[in-house]
């Protein structure tokens, strides 16, 4: 394996700087090794949360088809299982995996070993403890009552803040000790996300808001948790994986800059588009709708930049599940953002607000973009940290087909169901009943999708177990992807 990437001389920008650097395989292995403990711990915890969140998501979904399923006990009621699903998936699965990804990316991009790795490990453990306490309290009926901020302000939130701060400290300490001059675009996204997250999470949890202010801060937080935390770290990861696996630099440095600063400026102002038509001063909502429309600039910039980086080399996807997933995730980012911009327009929002269209949008974003990008990252990172290859290409293929196919069904079904629901809620002659009955077949289809996706998660967790805890992977003697084996198709490329 050679980590050297030759790049054309015409790209006069910082991406070139970075890829010009000749790094020996041993040196890179030393960087990977420096963060081994927190990275592996984070991925392990993330996969456990993924399985927990899957069960909670499945139960929530089945309850729409059978409302009397598991309704005897308070802790199994829909109104507790569903927020538990959200919190476990967002703070357990996605965020913990994102900690590991950041901790793995930074040493490589700064060309130095990870600093304060023990603090990072402690941070991940404290975060996990906070989330576990918060989730148990939530299920037991202690909720702060704000969507995305349900976790108990007294027992859970301080632990989450401390955990994220410790991981962030390790990231920034490593950055301060960097041995490169230029900051690669992934560094911008990853490093900025930690202070962003801490600011918005603390602002969102202060118990000083009342009435509609409490709604404003609720959605200020929730939207930025998506835009300045979940989105940014995953864009950073995709910006790393695409050029790295394909072996050529990012298409344009300027587009990277526009994408990053445009996102920082406009995304932060987006929050009130969750309250369109709501009882807030109308200038607030108008500001957010305007900022949502302006998001077209960073979204298109990132989309073009990433597309042009890969274009002509899509064939390489056959050999690398990480590349396949990163490419699908990058495309989904463009798709979900365009869908979101559309949804923020009053003429569309009057139909789709309050409906399952929003749930389709959520999962297009949090699954097809965030979760697939995280899977891609794990396919790439785990073999390099563990120094063994994923044992089975069949399991990789099964996993990608199950989760990809299942999620397409999920999003399409709820997209259609949501529009039908919205049209019926607007139709003057139709009672509320129609909006329920016309959505039910689509909700049932979502439950079918839920089963397919869950199967995919089990396959992935089993495969990760085989990789980490058995010797199956070490039979493959070569370094990762040394032997070019098509992963997603049976035949070799000519």
């Amino acid at each position: 394996m050679t980590e050297t990437v030759a790049s054309p001389r015409t790209q006069q920008d910082s991406t070139l700087e970075h890829s010009k650097i000749r790094v020996s395989a041993d040196e890179v292995a030393a960087y990977d090794h420096s963060g081994r403990q927190p990275v592996l711990l984070g991925f392990f915890i993330a996969v456990v949360w993924l399985l927990v969140g899957t069960v909670l998501g499945d139960i929530s979904s089945f309850k729409f088809d059978r409302p009397d399923l598991l309704s005897e006990q308070a802790y199994l009621t829909f109104g507790r299982i569903r927020p538990a699903h959200l919190n476990v998936m967002v703070y357990g699965w996605a965020s913990t995996a994102m900690f590991s990804i950041s901790l793995w990316l930074m040493p490589r991009l700064c060309r130095t070993r990870l600093r304060w790795a023990t603090a990072a490990t402690a941070g991940i453990l404290i975060w996990t403890l906070g989330l576990a306490v918060g989730t148990v309290l939530l299920i037991a009926g202690y909720s702060d009552g704000l969507e995305w901020l349900e976790l108990d302000g007294q027992w859970a939130d301080p632990l989450l803040v401390a955990g994220a701060a410790l991981v962030g400290a390790s990231i920034w300490r490593t950055l301060a000790a960097r041995r490169v001059h230029h900051l690669y675009v992934s560094v911008w996204y990853v490093a900025a996300s930690y202070p962003w997250f801490l600011i918005i999470f603390i602002a969102g949890n202060l118990p000083i808001y009342q009435g509609v202010e409490s709604a404003a801060v609720n959605w200020f937080y929730a939207h930025n948790a998506l835009g300045l935390w979940l989105t940014t770290i995953n864009l950073g990861l995709i910006y790393y994986l695409l050029p790295k696996i394909i072996g050529r630099p990012i298409y344009s440095y300027w587009l990277s800059l526009v994408g990053f600063w445009g996102l920082a400026l406009f995304y932060a102002l987006n929050g009130m588009h969750h309250l369109i038509g709501g009882p807030l001063p109308s200038w607030m909502i108008a500001t957010s709708i305007t900022a949502s429309i302006m998001m077209i600039i960073p979204v298109v910039a990132v989309g073009i930049n990433q597309h042009m980086t890969v274009v002509g080399r899509f064939g390489a996807m056959r050999y690398s599940p990480a590349l396949t997933l990163a490419v699908i995730a990058a495309m989904s980012y463009t798709a979900v953002s365009l869908q979101g911009i559309l949804t923020a327009l009053v003429s569309v929002n009057r139909i789709t607000h309050f409906t399952h269209w929003t749930i389709a949008h959520s999962h297009l974003g949090l699954y097809m973009f965030v979760t697939l990008s995280l899977f891609g990252g794990m396919y790439y990172i785990l073999p390099r940290v563990l120094k063994k290859e994923w044992p089975s290409t069949r399991l990789v293929r099964a996993h990608i087909l199950l989760v990809g196919g299942g999620m397409i069904l999920y999003v399409v079904a709820l997209g259609i169901g949501g529009v039908l629901q919205g049209l019926s809620l607007l139709a003057p002659s139709e009672g509320f009943e129609v909006s329920v009955t016309s959505t039910r077949p689509w909700l049932l289809m979502r439950s079918v999708a839920a089963v397919i996706i869950s199967a995919g998660h089990i396959v992935f967790a089993y495969h990760a177990y085989l990789l980490a805890f058995t010797h199956r992977g070490s039979l493959t003697r070569q370094p990762p992807f040394f032997e070019l084996k098509p992963v997603l198709v049976k035949k070799r490329a000519p």
Partner: protein, 201 residues
């Protein structure tokens, strides 16, 4: 970019700017709101019901907001007589505006459905009253006893939904939640016309 300072200062500037525009500024502007005289502060009992509304996640299926009639059907569908305004929420902590209408809006449910017994049975088993309902049943807000003790309020449950033996007794929690639901009525006129929201762009 080569400088950490540019990165950190720039990143902080954008998010703090948004924080000022969307949180700090509105907080100071909204602090001058006056509660409308007809809007009573919630009683102990209603607050207890409100916290059950939160802990049982009614918010994930029900909104509490009426939007402008110029671009929605909220008013023509009988959810209220006027769009909701910031003053209506002055006692709400935290807000319960909601984002899903899997079930109907509840901003004026107290005016629409003032019958306690309807609500109690509906919470015990929605399908006993509304066959097509997909609302969860909340049997854990009731006690199932072999026979009623003196002072117990027994819930009349129609045949297919009644337990095989014994009686269903209404708990204090169910009473509090129903009190809260019935208190949800905002049928007084909006405090001042300036607050009536214009149409969004």
């Amino acid at each position: 970019m080569t400088r950490l300072l540019v990165l950190i200062m720039g990143a902080m500037a954008t998010v703090i700017f948004a924080l000022v525009v969307l949180v700090i500024l509105p907080k100071s502007m909204l602090s001058q709101l006056q509660a409308p005289p007809q809007l009573k502060p919630p009683s102990e009992q209603e607050l207890a019901g409100r916290s059950l509304y939160i802990s049982n996640g009614c918010i994930y299926c029900h909104t509490q907001q009426v939007r402008d009639p110029s671009f929605t059907a909220d008013i023509s569908k009988g959810l209220g007589s006027r769009p909701s305004v910031p003053e209506d929420y002055i006692h709400d902590k935290p807000h319960l505006l909601g984002t899903m209408r899997t079930g109907p809006d509840l901003f004026n449910v107290g005016a629409r459905l003032p019958d306690r017994n309807w609500h109690l049975l509906h919470l015990y088993q929605p399908r006993a009253l509304v066959p097509w309902s997909i609302m969860p049943a909340f049997p854990f807000l009731f006690r199932h006893k072999p026979k009623a003790d003196p002072g117990d309020k027994v819930l009349e449950v129609p045949k297919p939904f009644a337990p095989g033996n014994g009686v269903v007794v209404v708990s204090e929690e169910a009473e509090a939640l129903v009190d809260y639901l019935i208190s949800l009525r905002h049928d007084y006129p909006a405090p001042s016309n300036e607050d009536q929201k214009e149409v969004q762009p």
